[in-house]
């Protein structure tokens, strides 16, 4: 059994709004982080990912549950125990970098070591090593206000790495940086994590970051983890409409379950006729469902393809995006299908085409009565 670095059990935390109504920021969350793993907490603003991260750090106090780091209890609601943030063996990188403006980069990075009463020579050696590791040796004597955003983030990273903690928490560290710098820093983060083999919990709302960095992604919504899995699992086998829509784009065709046969295939009645799918979650006869499939799994064809699900339609819009072309095909008044194709040919407006997709790429997901097709809650 691999080492479990962080264990969260049944964590709860509620906040009170200004008018007194309670808001559940963390709603019975359980999670384990293995040694050397990078878990990404992914979700929109307000889903509780930052609160969860801060609770693990010790900057927020949960209402109930347990948090263990390295096998030792850091928080326990039942035992009424709390270890303050300064005594937990972890580091954190903040969204705003949180570099101390009155100290040089060197002093910023040295601070964690000096707080642990590390001898002077060792401090100098380790700080210089870490500054070199992140590539900012020449900035050692400068103040944060004299650095660019990317440079500041590297210093923040150095500060988090210098003490050699096995666990690093990252709170949307790349959101304040431009796109190009973000890509580069992201790549370096991945490399560094693999090289130094620390465990990381990374919070973001950006699914691209999540895909690149994560060993596992925890998709969160309204204080709960709605799905936990590898990037591939999350993307190809989303467990709900929410997850499917949050990670990437997805086409949706609503319908009702007509029957479920013993071999697992499901007949779904849709406005375009009966569709047979094999991938389904939580469906029963008569329940509402949504058939979802990814744009890149669809193809444009002049004829229907045998064995596939085919939709006749007309081209509404065709946009060139550089690496791919996006086609909006109107199937009916209520239904457009988005298709991504690698070839750069744009299709003529109003042209009649067939959209075709393999049955194996279609997933039937639950669709609540109170849900709207155009919203995703």
């Amino acid at each position: 059994m691999e080492d479990i670095v962080v264990e969260v059990r049944n964590l709860q935390k509620a906040f009170k709004r200004a008018d007194g109504t309670p808001v559940k920021a963390i709603d019975d969350v359980s999670l384990s982080v293995r040694s050397g793993e990078c878990i990404v907490l992914l979700g929109p603003s307000g889903c509780g990912k930052t609160t969860l991260l801060r609770s693990i750090a010790g900057l927020e106090k949960p209402d109930a549950g347990e948090i263990l780091i390295g096998g030792e209890t850091m928080f326990s609601g039942a035992q009424r125990l709390e270890v303050p943030a300064q005594n937990r063996d972890l580091s954190m990188i903040f969204q705003s970098y949180a570099l101390w403006p009155h100290m040089t980069a060197f002093d910023n990075v040295a601070f964690p070591l000096r707080s642990r009463k590390t001898p002077k020579e060792e401090v100098v050696e380790r700080v210089n090593q870490t500054l070199a590791l992140v590539g900012v040796t020449e900035l050692a004597g400068q103040h944060p206000s004299d650095m660019s955003g990317g440079q500041q983030q590297r210093v923040a990273l150095a500060r988090a790495l210098v003490a050699g903690d096995n666990l690093i928490l990252l709170d949307e560290p790349l959101s304040n940086v431009d796109a190009k710098v973000r890509d580069q820093l992201r790549r370096e983060l991945v490399e560094m994590q693999q090289e130094l083999n620390f465990s990381a919990i990374y919070v973001t709302h950006d699914q691209i970051e999540a895909m690149e960095l994560a060993d596992r992604i925890a998709v969160m919504d309204l204080g709960k983890i709605v799905q936990l899995g590898s990037p591939r699992e999350i993307y190809e086998k989303p467990s709900s409409r929410y997850v499917a829509n949050f990670v990437g784009t997805v086409n949706e065709l609503p319908g009702t379950v007509a029957s479920i046969s013993l071999d697992g295939s499901v007949a779904v009645t849709t406005q375009l006729g009966t569709v047979y799918v094999t991938n389904e979650e939580y469906l029963t006869k008569g329940s509402n469902t949504v058939l979802s499939f990814r744009p890149e799994r669809c193809s444009i064809s002049s004829q229907p393809v045998d064995g596939n699900l085919n939709f006749p339609g007309t081209v509404k819009r065709s946009t060139f995006f550089g690496s791919n072309t996006e086609h909006h095909i109107e199937i009916s008044e209520q239904l457009d299908i988005v298709v991504w194709q690698v070839d750069s040919k744009q299709l003529d407006h109003q042209r009649d085409v067939w959209v075709t997709v393999e049955h194996g790429d279609i997933r039937a997901l639950p669709f609540g009565e109170d849900e709207n097709l155009n919203e995703c809650n």
Binding site: A57, G58, L59, K61, E72, T73, R80, L81, E82, V83, P84, A85, Q86, N87, R88, L90, S91, M92, F94, Q95, S96, A98, L99, W100, P101, H102, F111, P112, S115, R116, P144, S145, R159, A163, L169
Partner: protein
Amino acid sequence: MIEANAVVAQEVHSDRHGVRALGARFTPFQIFSLLVGFGTASLILYPFFLVLVRLFWVDGSFNIEPFRNVLQLPNLGQLIFNTFTLVIAGGGIALLVGFVLAWLNERTDARIGALSDILPLLPFVMPVIAATAGWVIIGAPRAGYLNYYIRAVLDLVGIHLKQGPFDIFTWYGLIFVYALYLIPYPYLLISAGLRNLDPSLEEQARVCGAGLWKTLRKVTLPNVWPSIAGSALIVATIGFAMISVPILIGTGAGIQVISTRIVRLLNFTYPAKMAEAIGLSLIVLIVLIGIWRLQARLIKGGRFATIGGRAARGRRIELGRWRWVARSVTFGYVFFALIAPLYGLLITSLNGFWTPKTRWGELTLEHFRTVLWLDHKTRESLFNSVYLGLIGATIGMIIAATISSYVQRSTGKVSVFIDGVAKLPAAVSGLILAIGFILAFAGPPFRLHGTMLILLLAFLATHMPSGSIAADGAASQVGHSLMEASYVSGASESRTFWKINMPLMLPGLVAGWSLLFVRYAGDFQASALLSGTTNQTAGKKIIEIYEMGSFAYLAALAMGLTAITGTVIAVVFALTRKRSSISAL
């Protein structure tokens, strides 16, 4: 969160972890902060409480006799009318001018760079008592310098006046000086409010074609309403509590106000009139509470737009030719508030006589020497004031910094309580507190009557709000994430405070210290009641000299006091400039 019962931390794991039971946060540093907080709270609440008790509880029994006596004071109606008129008129003008100055400097290109930041604060350098003395000297109908020079100019045009044209010892003179020394407060507050206002609101209005005045009326004004309302409250509070201006100018004009009456009741009658004095100040307190509630309701009712997203500075309104007109408004303010009275004091002290016909060839520093050095009583009063200023401001700022940091770190009832009490003296007239101090500490068991200590304690309590507000501003420079980054790096609360909070707060604290120093050194409110022959302060001495009528003396002492406060501030300012500036992040 603090729990009443101190639960001892359970050492479940190794010492390094310092595991503790939920709810107990009694680190030594936390205890220190709490001690300071509660100590200050006691210092403020105990005298205040005694005052309230004394009003209704005479000789061990409930008695509203003293309160009834208040209502039977001669000329009570006149007194109240005078006071309210002064505060409303003076305060109203101060609000208007303060708003204009703030708007000109924050929203238009009438700014003159860094100078615009300093200019409105310059008058703070001079203690109000000194400045008022200066105004007496330049504004008196016959011997006033300003009048003399104006008459000289009018002579050239063929208009000959025997006196005037202005007379400081009138209603308008009094209102003018009141307004002059209330202006800085709305200026500062409204400036801050304008700075926080989303500039895109105004730009939007201008894009839609709204002219300058319309934008101002419909967009700017409604949204700075909280700052204006807050300024009104501060102006009213300070206005009601002002003593130096009504004593020096009001008596000459025959206008008595509540504060001067209180001083008279306490200084010229035996303690029997204490209750009436308290009763009078409570009238003020009730009015202030009323204004406070009104302000709170006004703010609740509206929707106010604050800065959205990144703090972007909007484009400033270009005034073109009007720029210099606008700048002259600011210069004019500094001239009237600082330069004119200072000039009066300076010339008079160099002259040795209060006469507008300055004997330019005979100016000498000799009179300074006589008054400030040879007269040991005056020397002593000046020394006492400076001494109190240096020590008191330092202790006061340390207390304020500790409280502000504590409040910033913790939420909860204790935190709100301590923060509120630190600001309470602002709502309570300095006179009420001074009375409270007499009741609390002058007699047994403390017997601090006539000591420097009682003055120090009274100053600490009375001026705590200024220090507290400055410290709050300094503390807010230290963002939460900076402190959290420190905790996560393994530093304790104490280490975080000394290594992170304090260095970042220092510039703000030093600025607060300077203002506090001026208040302590130039104090008159607490001094009026607590300062006697054994613990003379400069402020008290100035009043004594005024009542004896020797103006040259007065000018020299006021000048000496201003010179000292001015020098201290200049030195502090120069020192903080030299340090590596921490650019605003």
